[in-house]
């Protein structure tokens, strides 16, 4: 039940409690309780909206930074990751296998904003060995959603 609820919400967090109750075959009150529990347990971390900011005419620069760091004794990568993700402009931080340690995704108003963040905050940070910054040129798909117009239903209105 929990799993099913989470799978539905992952793709559509705006689904109404009424709809959820019908598809899960439980009451609306039970839906509310279940969601509160999942939020309390921090299984549901939050609800957000995927926006095409370019279409909304807002300047936004996204960059992916490959970061190499020195892990700390007893704390591994967690401490340094935390120091990085506390910055509000950092939207994602992942620990990676392979040629570098952390993927840091950052959003800024301009390329200069991002460059300043890397050169003044991230690179000088204790334990950070190197940064390689890659700017996003165009977004095609994000979190399962394709940028661009919605595909139209091409089916006839009636068909047996």
């Amino acid at each position: 039940m929990e799993r099913k609820l989470l799978e539905i919400l992952e793709h559509n967090s705006r689904i109404s409690a009424k709809q959820l109750a019908a598809v899960l075959e439980i009451s609306e009150a039970e839906v509310g309780e279940l969601m509160a529990k999942l939020e309390h347990e921090r299984i549901i971390l939050g609800y957000h909206t995927v926006i095409d900011w370019e279409k909304a005419n807002r300047e936004l620069v996204t960059a992916l930074i490959e970061v190499k760091v020195t892990p700390q004794r007893g704390l591994g990568f967690d401490k340094i990751a935390e120091r990085i993700y506390q910055y509000p402009e950092v939207t994602s931080v992942f620990l990676m296998s392979g040629g570098f340690d952390l993927t840091v995704i950052i959003e800024g108003k301009t390329m200069k904003d991002v460059a300043m963040f890397v050169s003044q905050k991230l690179a000088p940070m204790e334990g950070v060995l190197s940064c390689a910054t890659h700017f996003v040129l165009k977004k095609y798909k994000q979190e399962g959603f394709v940028f661009g117009p919605e595909t139209q239903d091409q089916r006839a209105a009636i068909w047996l």
Binding site: I8, N12, I15, V23, E25, A156, A157, I158, L160
Partner: protein
């Protein structure tokens, strides 16, 4: 010049009362439709991609008449793994242009003039015309909501005459969403064996059952060789436009069907056949995803109709609900016409699928939840209005 060039058989096909309603729907703007018997998902990308690849490589020649052996092997494996059927790829399977062609081939291969074909109703519209064109005589066997629109052995036996040759078994059913379970099939199989009938089992919705696994009548003892199993890619893999299906049965019948297929079609579309191999090999995850999604919608729609105070039995297959509108006080056609005019919602009158569909409407839930909710709100408003007037 002659008065008419069209022969009497063709003229006799399907009175077109329902056609008028269809034409009105087609011309209307801004209709919220629950009227389509076709999946809303695009064909899974890996399958489309295989089609593109095949085109790029220029693999655009004919295939063997019965279809690519490689595809027939995959179909054979699929039928074995999913339903425990044992049909050989080499001589017991033919690849057709959708399940529709397979129905036609089966009738033309088996029927002699005057042979009777039993067709449970409500059901899909092409069985009777195919039987007539093949010289047979269609005999409707009505089913009722009391038995969840399942054909019962008693009703079957009542309809049998010395001329009966074929029983069509259209389950999971369009338009009712009814299914047959093992015990239903066992009872029917006993009658079929007793009267030496052949079953045309149209299992096109076999992968779309909810909470119950589909059972093919061909998997029961003694039924393998007196059943033509018809299935295809349209519904399970959301491949309607690729036009690909198949029939499996005893080697004599399949050889006959392949002969008719050879002279009328040559072979099924090559690109579709290669794409279908990909679908069977790697598409089961997509099937599961779509099935889960349909299941959510199914529950939502059944709940919605029941909340309006309509009787709506729980369909366990396909992607249709078949609520009763008897309590509203309109005939199926009146209901659908007025619903279309007054609320701009398109649903199909139950009578499109046989006389015994009177008092019901078919609503497809191959639509997004948002679309379904919009339609349900409008239908609810319409019913309330009708009840106040009545």
């Amino acid at each position: 010049m002659r008065d008419s060039w069209v022969n009497s058989k063709v003229k006799s096909l399907q009175p077109s009362g329902i056609r008028k309603f269809f034409d009105i729907v087609a011309q209307m703007q801004d209709v919220v439709s629950l009227g389509v018997g076709e999946p809303d998902f695009p064909t899974p990308w890996h399958v489309r991609e295989e089609g593109i690849y095949v085109l790029e490589k220029g693999m655009t020649t004919y295939t063997s008449n019965a279809g690519l052996l490689e595809l027939r092997r995959e179909v054979s494996r699929f039928l074995a793994e999913q339903y425990g059927l044992k049909y050989r790829a080499e001589d017991q399977i033919v690849i057709t242009i959708g399940a529709s062609e397979a129905i036609d081939l089966a009738m033309r291969t088996v029927l002699e003039p005057g042979d009777e074909v039993l067709i449970p109703e409500p059901s899909f519209v092409s069985y009777a015309p195919c039987a007539i064109l093949a010289g047979g005589v269609p005999v409707a066997v009505p089913t009722t909501e009391a038995t969840e629109f399942r054909l019962t052995a008693a009703e079957l036996e009542k309809a049998i005459t010395p001329k009966t040759k074929i029983l069509v078994l259209p389950y999971p059913n369009n338009p009712t969403g009814a299914i047959l379970e093992r015990h239903d099939l066992e009872a029917l199989a006993e009658v079929v064996r007793k009267y030496d009938l052949l079953v045309i089992s149209d299992e096109i919705y076999s992968e779309l059952t909810y909470g119950v696994k589909h059972v093919s009548i061909a998997s029961l003892p003694g039924m393998e060789h007196r059943t033509i199993v018809i299935n295809g890619f349209s519904k399970a893999f959301s491949m309607t436009g690729w036009r690909l299906g198949y029939a499996a049965g005893n080697a004599e019948i399949i050889a006959g069907m392949t002969k008719v297929h050879q002279f009328t079609i040559m072979c099924s579309p090559t690109i579709s056949q290669y794409a279908a191999i990909e679908a069977l090999r790697n598409g089961m995850e997509s099937v599961k995803m779509m099935r889960n999604e349909y299941d959510l919608r199914r529950k939502f729609v059944v709940h919605g109709f029941r909340q309006m105070g309509l009787e709506c039995f729980e369909p366990k297959g396909a992607f249709y609900v078949f609520p009763s509108i008897k309590s509203v006080g309109l005939s199926s056609e009146e209901f659908c016409n007025r619903l279309l005019q007054e609320e701009r919602v398109a649903v199909v009158p139950g009578t499109a699928f046989g006389k015994c569909g009177e008092g019901y409407i078919r609503c497809s839930y191959a639509y997004s939840l948002t679309n379904l909710e919009k339609a349900l709100v409008r239908i609810g408003r319409f019913i309330k209005k009708m009840r106040q007037q009545g």
